[in-house]
């Protein structure tokens, strides 16, 4: 997929999805295309390019530029080919003397108000206006350049990633339409009429102060140099590109990494990528600068204690040192005294190798992954009810949904490219139910308004879900035939009795959830009767002490209404990080081998033992919270942590720090000295996604290739680092390329038997299961039957969390993410994305703020039962009274200093979303923050000594 740089193919107008075909003649060539196609599209598909300026295939045809005129036999005049639909037998001519003259005349007018600086223009050689002038044969501009023009219009350079140069604008409206149709933000408009027409950022003075979310759709759509990436202005046109997969959220967007030598000069959303279909967000599109940031650590380092300076060493010395320390610990404290944590940011092949190293090299099953703290309840809940630990749909499936429930998720911030798809469907008329304590953007956005917002009190999701099912059952709205055919009927009868109890009625649950009964009843009726019902949920569902119960309740609701097993419906967990699904698939949990098969199964173990040549421990290992507890207890002494910053991301920071401090040997593999690495004894330099080959699996179960665009700065990709460590421990890992690791995964995992790099290159991406039964993958799961056979209605008793608000801690804190930053911020904080979010703030409702004398921008202390931190207040009615909210993107914020050890009953996923707190006005940072600052300074100095 390495290729010379070429702009991506553009067919002018969108593809028609009609199955009826129409045959017409274009320039004497017979062309057959789907009904509803434009003449321009039909011509493009048959290799005939009609010049155009205002048309691009990601946007509906507009018909304003008058360049794409054609002749059609039997029709008067010169219709625009972009807005003319094909008809059977139509005879089209795209070239004639008269057409050529008309096009040149139009082009002449455009160029008469356009700077003639092509040779010094940043898009020289990559400009549709320039190309089109060439295509129509423009040779002169008769009007001169002395008249009124826009050539001195002032540039807007406020956005950190792109400039807006109105002097080059031809007012084709592509940017405005991209903002509306593709992104759904409606930040841009055309102001004025006639000569005064200009692109405007609404009432704002510039892009940065406007509603623009910097997704880059307008930049992609611009046919001139009006909207241009600053990286291109600085570096010039790319010379080659590599198709790869974004390393940010679980949407898994496909990108072309556009390169000059080993330098990325632009990331362009790849139109053939099925997860994103040519769209992007501010993170994937622009925030790649961290990959070459000066903070990157590119040499292995070791030290005896965390008070010692780091010492740079060779890879051999680092892995030999680590192996010696780990073996020594095991000799003194036993085989199970060490373990590892793998990362959802790493590739499938890398997480597979880490768990293989633990099970074969460490000789135990102490392997866990960061999904423990996000979607482990999804694994448990969906496996129990449906039989597979994965979402059921494609993202594109939402285009066929009629009623959409978004629960505990904020797609426009955390999964923005999917959020745009969702908004498009809502603008087309789908109904929306939002279940969330906060008024997320989807509740009320331009041209979108939730039909019902159920503002659930944090910690009471299960009562709302049970009440929705209660209404459906007691009002007889369930899908009786579907349930009878597809589900365990005996268990359904037991569940029906349970859910019909009056205690689950909306009128009763309102006292717990705060959700008005009449709204909840109406929402239940809408979901049950509104056509295709699709549920999308996030960490606001899973990160609770009843997270697994809530996931099962969601599956119950979908089965109850027959909303699983076809397009437009389903249960869809929105995964936070890029490879959460893949990390889980690859056997990263301590009780499961790859493919979600329990370690106690003799048959499964025998399969792996045969391939790996070792005897496997049949007992589950430690989960992450168990590792921390065991470390503090003195039973767990060594940890290998790849690509995860547990000191910042896990709850009860002081507990985590105590655990890390208690370790004899902490090995961190990362691209930066993250918060966890400050407690480490060995640092193995990681590779960014641009530096390695592999695969990521997104929230749709879509396996996509990650392709190396530049060499690893440390000399090794992460899988090579793990392999070196494993072999130093006595393993015999021999892989020359990650494709060989995938081949091994395919040999051992029934849902992956058909997956190979060759097939991924052929198909672009594959949604597992992919095997002999489904050689091209499985877009929609559970079509004819559930993976477990019959669907299981689990009893979902609501057990309130032990974390209760009281007089001392009267408010409930919930946490989340923001668009411009990603997770612990290690990547995005090292980009210009910080211009949008340079610190985490505390959202507090005006009533709660007033009671405490807090004004917008004040320093406020947030005290919980386990800790205290200080943030600036953001007084806003986005949160309801009694609930406060913050993000956790900056280490100094200490959001997790206040979150507790409470966790999901089934999986120990932490209860990040409910912490009882008090808030008060303060004047100084907390004691933890002061300590953190001192510790950070000390560790940075110890790092500096290694580098000099």
């Amino acid at each position: 997929m390495l290729e010379f740089y070429e702009p991506q193919a553009d067919f002018g107008t969108p593809q028609s999805d009609s199955e009826t075909m129409v045959t017409l003649s274009i320039d004497g060539v017979q062309v057959t295309v789907p009904e509803g196609s434009s003449v321009m599209r039909a011509a493009s598909e048959s290799g005939i390019k009609i010049p155009r300026l205002c048309a691009t295939d990601s946007l509906k045809s507009f018909g304003s530029c008058r360049i794409c005129l054609v002749e059609i036999e039997g029709r008067r005049g010169f219709p625009a080919s972009c807005t003319t639909t094909v008809e059977a037998g139509m005879q089209v001519n795209t070239q004639s003397d008269e057409i050529g003259k008309l096009r040149r005349n139009v082009m002449e007018l455009y160029i008469s108000d356009h700077p003639l600086d092509c040779l010094t223009c940043p898009t020289n050689g990559d400009c549709e206006l320039q190309d089109t002038a060439g295509e129509v044969g423009l040779r002169a501009v008769r009007y001169g350049f002395e008249g009124d023009n826009h050539l001195v219009a002032e540039k807007d350079e406020s956005n950190p990633y792109f400039t807006f140069d109105p002097s080059k604008c031809i007012v084709c409206s592509r940017c405005v339409r991209a903002c509306e149709e593709t992104q759904g933000t409606f930040a841009l408009t055309i102001d004025g009429r006639g000569f005064e027409s200009k692109v405007s950022v609404g009432p704002a003075d510039n892009f940065m102060d406007s509603d623009c979310v910097s997704c880059g759709a307008c930049v992609d759509a611009c046919p001139t140099a009006t909207l241009t990436e600053k990286s291109i202005i600085d570096a010039g046109k790319p010379e080659h590109s590599v198709v790869t997969t974004c390393a940010y959220c679980g949407v898994g967007c496909s990108f072309k990494a556009e390169m000059k030598g080993n330098e990325v000069v632009r990331m362009t959303p790849y139109k053939d990528g099925k997860a994103n279909e040519g769209h992007a967000c501010v993170k994937g599109r622009f925030a790649f600068g961290y990959t070459t940031h000066k903070d990157r650590i590119t040499k292995p380092m070791i030290r005896e204690s965390i008070e010692d300076p780091w010492k740079e060493v060779s890879w051999d010395e680092a892995v030999t040192y680590t192996a010696k320390r780990f073996k020594d610990i095991q000799a003194r404290h036993g085989r199970t005294s060490i373990g590892a944590i793998s990362s959802s940011r790493c590739t499938n092949e890398e997480v597979y190798l880490v768990q293989k190293m633990v099970r074969t090299g460490f000789g135990n099953n102490n392997i866990d992954t960061c999904a423990r703290v996000c979607h482990s309840p999804t694994g448990f809940g969906l496996k129990t009810t449906l039989g597979e630990s994965a979402g059921t749909q494609t993202f594109a499936s939402v285009a066929k949904a009629d009623v959409i429930i978004v629960m505990g998720a904020n797609p426009t911030e955390a999964h923005p490219v999917f959020g745009s798809r969702l908004k498009r469907r809502l603008r087309e008329g789908a109904k929306l139910i939002v279940i969330d304590p906060r008024q997320i953007e989807l509740v009320n956005a331009p041209h979108i308004s939730a039909d019902y917002h159920l503002p659930v009190r944090p910690g009471t999701n299960v009562t709302v879900l049970n009440a929705l099912s209660h209404v459906i059952i007691t009002e007889g709205l369930q899908a009786k035939d579907y349930i009878a055919e597809r589900c365990e009927t005996d268990d359904f009868d037991i569940w029906t009795k349970f859910i019909s109890e009056e205690r689950h009625s909306p009128e009763n649950t309102e006292q717990y959830s705060g959700v008005p009964a009449h709204d909840l009843r109406a929402a239940a009726r809408l979901y049950a009767q509104g056509g295709n019902g699709a549920i999308f949920y996030g960490l606001g569902v899973t990160e609770h002490s009843q997270g697994s119960t809530a996931v099962m309740a969601i599956a119950n609701l979908a089965m109850l209404t027959g909303n699983i097993g076809r397009e437009g419906v389903g249960v869809n967990p929105l995964r936070g990080q890029n490879n959460v699904q893949g990390a889980c698939d690859m056997g990263s949990f301590p009780h499961e081998l790859p493919g979600y098969r329990h370690i106690s199964s003799k048959v499964t173990r025998a399969l792996f033992e045969g391939e790996w040549g070792v005897t496997l421990d049949p007992e589950p290992g430690l989960r992450i919270p168990n590792m921390f507890d065991a470390a503090i207890d003195g039973d767990f002494k060594g940890l290998y942590c790849q690509g995860e910053d547990i000191a910042q991301s896990d709850p009860n920071t002081q507990h985590v720090e105590a655990a890390l401090t208690a370790l004899e040997c902490l090995v961190v593999q990362d691209i930066f000295l993250n918060e966890t690495a400050k407690f480490a004894h060995v640092f193995l330099p990681g590779a960014s996604f641009l530096e390695k080959d592999g695969t990521f699996t997104n929230a749709e179960r879509r396996i996509s290739r990650v392709r190396r665009a530049m060499p690893p700065l440390s000399g090794k990709a992460d899988w090579e680092g793990t392999m070196a460590l494993a072999n130093a421990l006595g393993c015999n890992f021999k892989y020359d390329h990650p494709s060989e690791i995938m081949d091994e995964i395919a040999r051992l995992t029934p849902t992956f038997t058909g997956v190979s790099y060759k097939k991924l290159d052929e198909l672009g991406s594959i949604q597992w299961p992919c095997n002999d039964h489904t050689p091209a993958g499985t877009p929609v799961m559970h079509v004819d039957e559930f993976v477990r056979g019959k669907g299981f209605f689990a009893i979902t008793e609501y057990i309130a969390t032990e974390e209760r608000a009281n007089r001392k801690f009267p408010l409930l804190l919930t946490t989340g993410r923001i668009l411009s930053q990603y997770n612990v911020g290690a990547q995005t904080r090292r980009t210009k994305n910080s211009e949008w979010h340079e610190e985490d703030t505390l959202e507090i409702h005006p009533h709660d703020a007033e009671e405490r004398g807090i004004n917008h921008g004040d320093w406020v202390g947030i005290q919980s039962r386990v800790g205290e931190t200080v943030l600036h207040a953001d007084v806003t009615s986005r949160v309801k009274p009694g609930v406060i909210y913050t993000t956790f993107h900056h280490p100094v914020s200490g959001a997790n200093v206040i979150t507790t050890d409470n966790s999901d009953w089934a999986t120990n996923c932490p209860e990040f979303k409910v912490t009882a707190v008090q808030v008060s006005k303060v004047t100084a940072p907390s004691r933890w923050q002061a300590r953190q600052k001192t510790f950070n300074t000390q560790q940075q100095q110890l790092l500096a000594k290694a580098r000099h």
């Binding site: 199970t336 349970f498 002490s545 589950p620 507890d629 039973d635 008793e797 057990i799």
Partner: protein, 77 residues
């Protein structure tokens, strides 16, 4: 040290039992809780709590029965 460890395990088991309590008969719930522990807990955790099968460490009645069943499963290995 062991008391603290046991307290932690007791809290976890009682939480599991509470969340499973409506799943069916007491025998079914006891069975499900013990199977959950067997399936997801490490050997050290299982051994430590199994040692408490006859002790009053704060387990709810269902949890106590689940631990007795778990201990029997451990002995049978």
């Amino acid at each position: 040290m062991n008391a603290k460890k046991i307290d932690r395990l007791v809290k976890m088991i009682n939480q599991i039992s509470l969340n499973m309590r409506s799943n069916g008969s007491e025998d079914l719930v006891v069975s499900q809780v013990s199977e959950h522990l067997e399936k997801f807990w490490s050997p050290a955790m299982k051994d430590l709590i199994s040692e408490q099968e006859d002790n009053n460490v704060g387990l709810t009645p269902i949890s106590q029965k689940a631990v007795i069943r778990l201990a029997a499963m451990q002995r049978a290995k």
